[in-house]
Amino acid sequence: MKPPPFSYHDPRTVGDAVALLGRLDNAKLLAGGQSMMPMLNMRFVQPDHIIDLNRVDGLAYIREANGALEIGAMTRQRDIEFSDLVRARCPLMHEAIRHVGHRQTRNRGTIGGSLCHLDPSAELVTVAAAMDATVTVQGPDGTRQVEFAAFPVAFMTPAIELNELVTAVSFRTWPDGHGYGFVEFSRRHGDFAITSAAALLTEDASGKITRASVTLGGVAVAPIRAAEVEQALIGHIPDDKRLREACEACRKYEALDDIHAPASYRQHLATVMSRRALEQARARLKSHASQPAKH
């Protein structure tokens, strides 16, 4: 197998990459290549031009600023996995990224590539939804910010124009001691999840939930923020009964139905995965010593 013929461009600056995007018809960006290369090899995509971002300067970094963790689009998944900053400030992502493919693919795969590919069950996509990430997009007229909730516009289609590229993703960090959990169900380790769930929690001095984020991946074409579950938790002690009952709401989301699993199975998994993610998050709440350990 080999990709169809194309012209190859390897710009050194974001400006040059944007200029190429504006000038060339039927061009595709190549980031880490862990999804684009299979699609090229199998000729699912047949671009006339490949614009390789791997030699563009300044797109690979992880830094903290203004209560957020900003990650450059070409940052390798591996570098996120082993980042102390990510582990400390964004532990949900640290937890989730170990489920992304395999070491061999994380060494190459990038966060920007994963978010733009927008596979419904991609872990980083689920994390971005869970943390209300902001995507920075650069085009010929400069940069703009896209809230992640508005980023997926259709199946595997991000809200970026043909002459734009994603340069960074910003994750608002949660307070120290927040609870976080990420679980997924897949047939083999490293496979795409049939269903995944991410949970984030904070509590007050009495152990009542003050803030909750519950997100389902792999259920629908884009991650689902389970607002009903979040609302059912806020202001309450997250005991087993409350978690179980709140997560039942996940059964009603319209779910994908494909060769991997029927919709009803994904709906079932959604209730189970969301509860398990919340149980993990609850056990990790460290805001208050009064919280009994629930490992």
Binding site: G33, L40, G101, R103, Q104, T105, R108, G190
Partner: protein, 161 residues
């Protein structure tokens, strides 16, 4: 339309320079252009792990890179793991002693994967090893002995340290 570029890289410590069609994968470049056929190609879309190589010391799937992307980089293939033509690496020896290969097709990718893994994780558990090779498919399903070989190799490398 056959656009080509010159690719200059180091493979197993040796400098190579060759023209490559820009659409050529690194795996095909290693095998067909450089004649290094130790890197095997199974699925050619990033699932089977047979074509795993080390790029600047980190594993990557050679079918998911273009040859032109390797320009200026340092590659290690399975041919580069043994210290000499008459010796095997401790990992390779452990594979031989533990019957860690049957048909051998997946072995190059598993050896390169485990070379990186054991370098970064000198004292792995069995579960760690199984996760480490979860991206490598063995159609002989000889996983038990592959895992045994990896754990044995870890011990040998520890002893040699």
């Amino acid at each position: 339309m056959t656009e080509t570029r010159k690719v200059a890289l180091t493979v197993n410590g040796k400098r190579y320079e060759a023209d490559a069609e820009v659409r050529l994968t690194l795996a095909d470049f290693l095998r067909h252009t450089l004649g290094l056929t130790g890197t095997h190609l199974g699925c050619e879309h990033g699932v089977c792990g047979a074509c795993t190589i080390l790029l600047d010391g980190l594993t990557a799937r050679a079918c998911l890179m273009l040859a032109v992307q390797a320009d200026g980089h340092d590659i290690t293939t399975v041919e580069g793991l043994a210290p000499s033509a008459t010796e095997l690496s401790p990992l390779q020896e452990a594979f031989r002693d533990n019957h860690g290969l049957q048909c051998g097709f997946c072995t190059p990718g598993i050896l390169t994967t485990l070379t990186e893994f054991l370098r970064d994780n000198p004292e792995p558990t069995e579960q760690d090893v199984r996760i480490a090779i979860s991206g490598n498919l063995c159609r002989c399903t000889g996983y038990q002995n592959i895992v045994a070989a990896a754990l044995d190799a870890a011990k040998r490398l520890q002893a040699a340290r």
